[in-house]
Symmetry: C2
Subunit: 143 residues, 2 copies
Amino acid sequence: MSCASEYAPQLRSRGFRMTSQRMAILHVLRHAGTHLAPGEIYKLARQEFPRITEPTVYRTLEFLAENGLARPSHTGNGHFTYQIAGEDHHHVVCRVCGSEIEVEHQLLENLYRTLESTSGYVRIDSHMTFFGVCPECQKSYSS
Amino acid sequence: MSCASEYAPQLRSRGFRMTSQRMAILHVLRHAGTHLAPGEIYKLARQEFPRITEPTVYRTLEFLAENGLARPSHTGNGHFTYQIAGEDHHHVVCRVCGSEIEVEHQLLENLYRTLESTSGYVRIDSHMTFFGVCPECQKSYSS
DNA sequence: CATGTTATTGCAAAAAGTTGCAATAAGAGT
DNA sequence: ACTCTTATTGCAACTTTTTGCAATAACATG
């Protein structure tokens, strides 16, 4: 069995099922090490389990995100990208060249707690992508 | 001329042009008072200027966002939604029922400055949408 | 106000993402 | 192991979003 089968009990205890499709996708996400677009995930997952289809990939990614096994993150073009859960960090993307870096979640903790007390909403813990201009591109514009 | 023509000089000074399509879309955004999905904007803009096409709507929204006249904001399903610029606030969306509230930008200022100094990136000023659970839905889960 | 440059658009076709529903298969119970 | 329930998938059709390129029209200039 693949390393992804360790998620099975977690799913079963909530009344869900572990399937080859979900294993394939979890496997892909675990080995990616970074976030991937649904299309890329589809191509890679097909190498694990060729009968998988696109609608299944989209539905599975949404399912995994709802159940905390995957993390969706927004990209600059308005689409989702997914990564395996557990890597608790955020991104800052350069709006000029697209390069990106990670940001510790710790830096956002205060804000999240402030938002909760001022808004009345709880369990605010979204994965965020911020946009700015990276050091490299700052140089090009100052010359 | 529509109220949207006040944007014309702003565009022309940067070498861009004001067109009927852009006026129609700006008009729609100004009268919406809230954010709209591209599809809705297309339908409404067609009432202003029937020859407008979908690709133009998408391209124009991206253009307006790049030039600070419109603000894209992420929705829970991974798509963009747009609103007229000038309303400087962020959103918290309930991940259960979808209700949302606005958050003053002031609350994020500190975080943005911290991100800039720790990351080296500058001009971080993205519009953000956070996800949490609203007071109403908290009740349903505590019963 | 006619002209030339080129930013912007429309068209057509492709790619990406979504939906409804019947068929399949996970896994609980026997 | 077999059966039954129903969560999950595949299929097919559909909607949304993107792309390349030729045609159009904004507007700076003379």
